[in-house]
Amino acid sequence: MEVILLKALYALLMIGAVMGLAAYSVLGERKISAWIQGRIGPNRTSFPLIAKIPLIGPALRYLGIWQPLADGLKFLFKEDPIPGHVKGIYYMMAPVLVLVPALSTMVVVPFGEYFDSAGKAYPLILADIDLGLWFIFSLASLGVYGIVLAGWAANSKYPFIGGIRSCAQLISYELVMGLSVLPIIVWVNAPGVSAGLSLVSIVNTQGGAWFIMTQPLSALLFLIALFAETNRLPFDMPESETELVGGFHTEYGSFKFGFFFLAEYAHMVIGSAIFSLLFLGGWHFLPWIASPWPASIFGTICSVLWFLGKIVFLMFFFIWIRWTLPRFRYDQVMQLAWGKLLPIALINLVFYTILVAFIS
């Protein structure tokens, strides 16, 4: 009973954290883009009572802390027009189909560690299943159905092109993504060790060197594929607002559009979490340095915060890249995936497989 309550509490916390991160990454995106472009960014929203507090109120207003709240309310209260030419039920279904896989992947993502009375560490995770990584990949790839369905159900040309593009792009890059992670699985499951595909065991292997040091090429490939999978620039083919109006969500408005928006950023949060679990040592402090926090509740909070810090850094990196690189042309995206990344990923896999066999 106690376990169930704990899990329920943890699930609520997790949803809060991921949704909060997603909402505030929208603010982060707007603020960072503003700074890079020599602007100030959102600095007008304020909250009735808190705005009156001297110093803190204006500071929060200047940082745009209340902007996500205002944005969310705007999405909620806007009129929700449904164009006459859409395919009804599928049109309604698509945003849900995009958001659900994006959020359900967090079930197998560990967010830190907690300690029992004996000082033994357990991962903070909702479901530590053996096939953690597999589960994430299979669920995340379901997200593309939502996008394709949105493009098709909108029944107009630009969303349709967006849907087709996202279909082709996501399938190509999923291949690269899967192949770039395989060397890690091979490494973790070296002969004589059976750790499975659990993300927890992958993190536990990184007590010493992080995988970004031992397998930099895998990390690079995974990062590129992650950018493509989350539809972030320079791979935002499905959206490409300058050529496809808004891509697959052109015909959506109000809260349905909000769903797509939220899903994109939830994807980013989960993607950053997975990258830091796979390559940045999860909640481990620094390579080869044992975590300085004590084996207590305080230590748990420290490990979670450290992990969240890594996620936030990666989110910042996502946004930073977005305002640095221009969008690829569609054929370049495909050429990059099939012509360059896929062979490199294969060679990488073979190299590390031989290396692991040689070492052990």
Partner: protein, 179 residues
Amino acid sequence: MATKVLERKPLTWAEKTYLPQIVHGLKITWKAMFKKPITLQYPEEKPELPMGYRGIPTLVKDPNGREKCVSCQLCEFICPPKAIRITPGEIPADASTAHVEKAPKAFEINMLRCIYCGLCQEVCPEEAIFLQNAFSLSGYSRQELVFQKDKLYELGGTLPDTHHKWDKKKAAAAHPHHH
């Protein structure tokens, strides 16, 4: 003219991966992040307007606070979009400015028609109409945007002018000087 032929070197292996270029780009955007914003917080901060800026046309008073316009209607006639309409009126004979003879009874500028060309300012022999610095203009009705005389004077205020043309005329009339 001598032309200089630049040697176009083939890309190195590192350059072909694009990664050094991406890192360089990231450096540039990183630096840009810490530069001072170049934007203005508009309603609170106003841009610095250059000399000779042509804002809303306004009527101005002379340093004595008297109406300068003598309703000669030159501005009305030159106005390309026909935005100005003047109804001339006489100055009562017992007024201190009676020697000016005429003043506008009504002076309307239709700001929905005005094109801010400044021809009225240029043509005015009395220097009574000026395009000043106010530029943000809005209203709830068309009627509201047809500026009347009192509104135009309120916008214009008094501009310094050292001619004192009508004072001199009055003095000349009081002390006729014969050659």
